[in-house]
Amino acid sequence: MREVAIIGIGDTKFGEMWEAGFREIGIQAGLAAVEDAKLAAEEIDALYVGNMSAGRFIEQEHVAALIADYSGLARDHIPATRIEAAGASGGLALRQGYLAVASGMHDIVVVGGAEKMTDVGDVVATEIQASAADQQWEVTFGATFPALHAMIARRHMHQYGTTREQIAQVSVKNHKHGSLNPKAQFQREIDLNTVLKAAPVADPLGMFDCAPFSDGAAAVVLCSMDKARRYTDTPIRIRASAQASDTLALHARSDICTFEATRVAARKAFKQAGLEPKDIQVAEVHDNFTISEILAIEDLGFFPKGEGGKATVEGQTAMGGKVAVNTSGGLKARGDPIGATGVAQVVEIVHQLRGQAGKRQVSGARFGLAQNVGGTGATVVVTILEAA
């Protein structure tokens, strides 16, 4: 297996994009990434597209072919593949692209993630989002996707003494980071009170504990490391790529305060990279709900189990802390177009490792990590990147 580098990145702003449809959003990010890599279309060997549910959001399946077509790549008849793992669709698409290049099958691939969530109303969007969980044995009985995470939060509070304020602080921090990101859906700082007093969604989580519905796309260009410097002075090495699965239903786990799939994927990734959590300066984790970030920073090994809340209020995951988590604003402030998120996380890490993150720049960022989650942790992809 040979080394793989990221030689180009691109993304759209995330938010409610009324003027742009799925096709426009999808190719915008891809074209930006190809431009960033200064590639010619003929040099692209394959396309991988992460998307959770275009079939239900816009009644369109077969979206890899669609993106290949509208980005002009279908002219060259390149292989185009759509990958789905609910919220982990983007991260998983990246992993498939990585495996294709690492194995020697392809030299240069484009990996994109895109989701158009606002062409349906909120009620339908909520139902589609819930299909990431166990439809028959969780959702049918009234467990919404936020409710499942709320039950994780309540159990975490019960088992570890984590407080409501600690959980809410995740949102405050990520909004602070988002205010520094011109591509974020929400660029306004908020205070703790706003989070605590927000309309309840599923107690103890309220509106400000939950990532929004968003439209958006992100893309990266992967290239074998040995050819990367032909295209860029700042190739970013994929130091590790790991993936793990777990039971679909949350109630089938033995402990819901941990995403075992995160722990397994992280262990494999750190082993592949020859690194430890303390070596990571910057991380993008899957905060579709505030409690999810608390679990993530514990399960990835940044903090002991049960201390994620304390670490957050102590500022250890803010810029300037022990590890800067979600400098993009995270899913909460940056936005969460489901299939795009996993790729957008990597785009942010690349900005950081290239030293091009502007006001969000973490000084001395050398190793970065992205954690992308599907459902309530049934799929987790962990990627570790290095400034080459």
């Binding site: 349906v120 109303g121 009620v123 339908v124």
Partner: protein, 352 residues
């Protein structure tokens, strides 16, 4: 062959609303309605309850109290005027939910408030003829009265289930007889949300005529007098009618007291007599004799002469809630919440 009740179970939803609260909304004197009807509160089902869930609760309670194998049940009848489906029986879901085999005969019944007792009579015939070993008869309702109509003060929800058989019976049904005529006192047309009624026509030519005729038929056929019965259960559309009809037949207030539930839980329609009888069976002793007359508008009365057997001493009622416990487990609602539970507020299907 002696035929009778092998086991029984009851269920009443826990929510209540008072006539005063209903009257407050409709500009009527709820206090006066309450006194006039002798109804002090009525039961209200949650929006996730219906005749099927009520029947299943009552039937499961019935099965918990005995050790009959549900695979030996040969017939299931659910009598109601508020079946969830107009076409598709409630009883098949109940039968599966209590573990019956596929070898059962089943049909839903309707005869206003006496569909449950009609089911008991059918089961008696099937058991007595040897066609089935055990039959289940359930009377349950979640009836509604039109908002603002007098019926709204009384129409409530609840039900009881009876396992009819010929072995280990706790109460023998010595005799049953019915009095039936075509009398349009109360009805609901297909497609209508709420029933209609003939006002005071529902009294003398309907309820009283049929209940007294049915009652007299039982007394005549059995050669008995009212004072030979420890308990009497009459259909109870309000708290007053059963008191009056009891006197007309020669029964006392003490005899009807235990089986008179309407003042606390309202008129549970097809569940009314089955629940009243269950309340009596909750306290009855071996040797006690029970007089029962159910009434269904349209119209008809089903009478029963029942004797509690020695087996009642070995029957463990504690495996399921007593009627008294169900009546006492209550939470009061305001009219708006009640209207929401009962679907009286129309919600448009969200399509986005």
């Amino acid at each position: 062959m002696e035929v009778g009740i092998v086991s029984y179970g009851a269920y009443v939803p826990r929510y209540r609303i008072t006539p005063q609260e209903i009257g407050r909304v409709w500009g009527s004197d709820g206090e006066m309605m309450s006194k006039g009807l002798q109804i002090f509160s009525k039961s209200v089902p949650q929006s996730d309850e219906d005749v099927i869930t009520i029947s299943v609760e009552a039937a499961r309670a019935m099965m918990r109290r005995c050790d009959v194998d549900p695979m030996d049940i040969g017939a299931v009848y659910v009598g109601s005027e508020s079946h969830p489906y107009a076409v598709k029986p409630s009883g098949t879901i109940v039968a599966e939910a209590i573990g019956c085999s596929t070898e059962i005969t089943m049909a839903d019944l309707e005869f206003a408030c006496k569909a449950g007792t009609a089911g008991m009579q059918i089961c008696m015939g099937l058991v007595g003829s040897g066609m089935v070993k055990y039959g289940v008869a359930i009377g349950a309702d979640t009836s509604q009265g039109a908002p603002g109509d007098p019926l709204e003060y009384s129409a409530s929800a609840g039900g009881a289930a009876y396992l009819i058989g010929s072995r280990d019976i706790i109460a023998a049904i010595n005799h049953t007889a019915s009095f039936t005529t075509d009398t349009p006192d109360f009805w609901r047309r297909e497609g209508q949300d709420y029933p209609s009624h003939g006002g005071r026509f529902t009294g003398e030519p309907a309820y009283f005529k049929h209940v007294t005729a049915g009652g007299k038929l039982i007394l005549k056929n059995m050669g008995t007098k009212p004072d030979q019965y420890k308990y009497a259960v009459f259909h109870q559309p309000n708290g007053k009618f059963p008191q009056r009809v009891a006197k007309m037949l020669g029964f006392t207030d003490q005899q009807i007291e235990v089986g008179l539930l309407t003042p606390q839980i309202g008129n549970t329609y097809s569940g009314a007599v089955p629940l009243g009888l269950a309340a009596v069976l909750d306290v009855a002793d071996p040797g006690d004799r029970i007089f029962v007359v159910a009434y269904g508008s349209g119209a008809g009365a089903d009478g029963f002469d029942i004797s509690v057997t020695e087996n009642m001493a070995r029957y463990d009622r504690s495996k399921a809630p007593l009627v008294r416990q169900l009546v006492e487990d209550k939470r009061f609602l305001d009219y708006a919440t009640y209207a929401k539970f009962r679907g009286k507020i129309r919600i448009q299907e969200a399509n986005s």
